[in-house]
Amino acid sequence: MSVMVLMGSLELGLIYAIMALGVFISFRTLNMPDLSVDGSFVLGAAVSVVMSLNGHPFLGLGAAFIAGCGAGAITALLHTKLKIQPLLAGILTMLALYSVNLKVMGGRANIPLINKITVFSPFEEILRDYNKLGFSLAVLLLILFLLFLFLKTRLGFVLRATGDNDAMVRALGVNTDSIILVGLALSNGLVGVAGALIAQSQSFVDVGMGIGMVVIGLASVIIGEVVFGVSSLLRRLMAVILGSILYRLIIAFALELGMPPTDLKLVSAVIVAIAMAMPVFKKRLSVVKRKMSKTPHERSK
């Protein structure tokens, strides 16, 4: 693998880590599978590109966060107020966002962002070729820091407890509906920021760029957990980031091997399926081991 490819993977890994942190909040902290991610990713990208075209790239990043929060809030309301299952609520939001995203993009399926000022432009002089990497890293570290602090506040505690045991949280006088709202909004807000940075980095937004994002986010979370552990909160968050980078390296490796880029979604799905099935594999393996160790004993009888 060339240095170019490694740097590219690292850069993408850092940006997608922001999305993975969002997915971590919904899947792990709230224990809710939220599929609106596929839509809110593009929403963030679309909002940010449109804002950049109008000369406000940094404002666009903030707007992408807020737009993502809005999308997450809709999913949360569908689930908590209308009692729609979390999976379906997410799918509904994702579907609706497809139309919304096209509206944001003025009816076009693809908007290029060439020769416009992006969020990376101001750093070109200082960081040269590393401007994208440097700025993405800075945004990621800021988000990591704020998220870590947030999860240590009273609201953060209650958010974590809601995913763990919502009956307990209600028994302690907190409205879990509003906690789910905050959690999903925050989660999708981060996903929106990641979408915005990806669009800025690749200089275009495409209405189909969100397909499979939730799976990629989940893959990062799980790879991180398996490889780097879950012993403390900070470690868990770091593991998500490292998982995202590792995932990009795996993909880059697959491409190096000559796999066509169109097969990547298949690879992602297989990675997540294997990672999710780990507990089953481990159990089977231990049963097989016990059987094997039992045989000589029985023979001696």
Binding site: T153, R154, V158, A161, G173, N175
Partner: protein
């Protein structure tokens, strides 16, 4: 002070499985009264508790707590004045969080939930003090995850969490039923200690007839969604388990079929 007036609860209303779980229940608890509830399976004990705590919406009646009508308040709002311990030790605590984090959430009951620090130094000293009362050595394990604790330890912790902000009413739903006898006795005596020290208005469901007479100041027996017997004062003091069973069979016209209740 709790007041339940003509409370009715029907499950699966309108279907063939319709079940009248509570029929016209009236119950009134005075300041600091500690009531134990006994009854067979399906008698409506847990349903009564879930109606009071707001888990179930009721079909008829009124519930008042300290002269506030809470009949239509959502569960989480009532919980600010009601402490609860469930039968399942897993339900009362967040297993992936530490002891001090769990206690902090409990200690924030009724306060605003915002971006203030989750745990403060000042609170930790108070937590240690309270945990010492449990006599389980938990005061030295504040940073341990609750998932590492035994069922009994978790129930004791839940009891502490339910009462760390003094509730107007404490609801205990067979909170020792899933524990082994030794630790169950310990949690029960702890319950008695906390209830009497804080002078808490308490409802405790138990499957153990002996415990129902031994603990608390009043015992009610439920059968088929109604309160069948209400023992207090001298009548309760003179009551024995054998006579309680005899009374039950006479009044209900049914035989007591619950081995768990008899053997407990």
């Amino acid at each position: 002070m709790l007041r339940v007036e003509s409370l009715s609860k029907i499950f699966s209303k309108g279907s063939t499985n319709e079940k009248l779980a509570l029929r016209d229940v009236n119950l009134s608890l005075g300041e600091g009264e500690f009531v134990t509830i006994i009854g067979g399976n399906g008698a409506g004990k847990s349903t009564l508790m879930n109606c009071i705590s707001g888990v179930y919406e009721i079909d008829n009646g009124r519930i008042t707590l300290d002269s506030t009508d809470i009949t239509f308040e959502p569960e989480y709002k009532r919980s600010r004045h009601i402490g609860r311990v469930f039968q399942d030790p897993l339900r009362g605590t967040a297993h992936d969080m530490t002891i001090e984090e769990n206690l902090s959430i409990a200690f924030a009951k009724g306060k605003s939930v915002g971006l203030q620090a989750g745990v403060s130094k000042k609170d930790i000293n108070l937590f240690k003090e309270r945990l010492q009362l449990l006599d389980l050595g938990l005061e030295n394990r504040l940073k341990h995850k609750v998932g590492l604790l035994s069922g009994g330890q978790r129930q004791a912790l839940t009891l502490l969490m339910a009462t760390i902000i003094k509730p107007r009413l404490l609801l205990l739903d067979e909170h020792t039923a899933a524990l082994d006898p030794t630790i169950a006795r310990k949690v029960l005596s702890l319950t008695r200690k906390i209830v009497s020290e804080e002078n808490l208005c308490t409802l405790m469901i138990t499957h153990n007839m002996k415990a129902s007479l031994e603990y608390g100041t009043r015992t009610i027996m439920m059968h088929e969604g109604q309160i069948m017997m209400d023992l207090q004062g001298q009548e309760r003091k003179d009551m024995t388990v054998d006579r309680l069973i005899e009374q039950f069979e006479k009044r209900s016209g049914a035989e007591l079929d619950n081995d768990r209740m008899l053997l407990g």
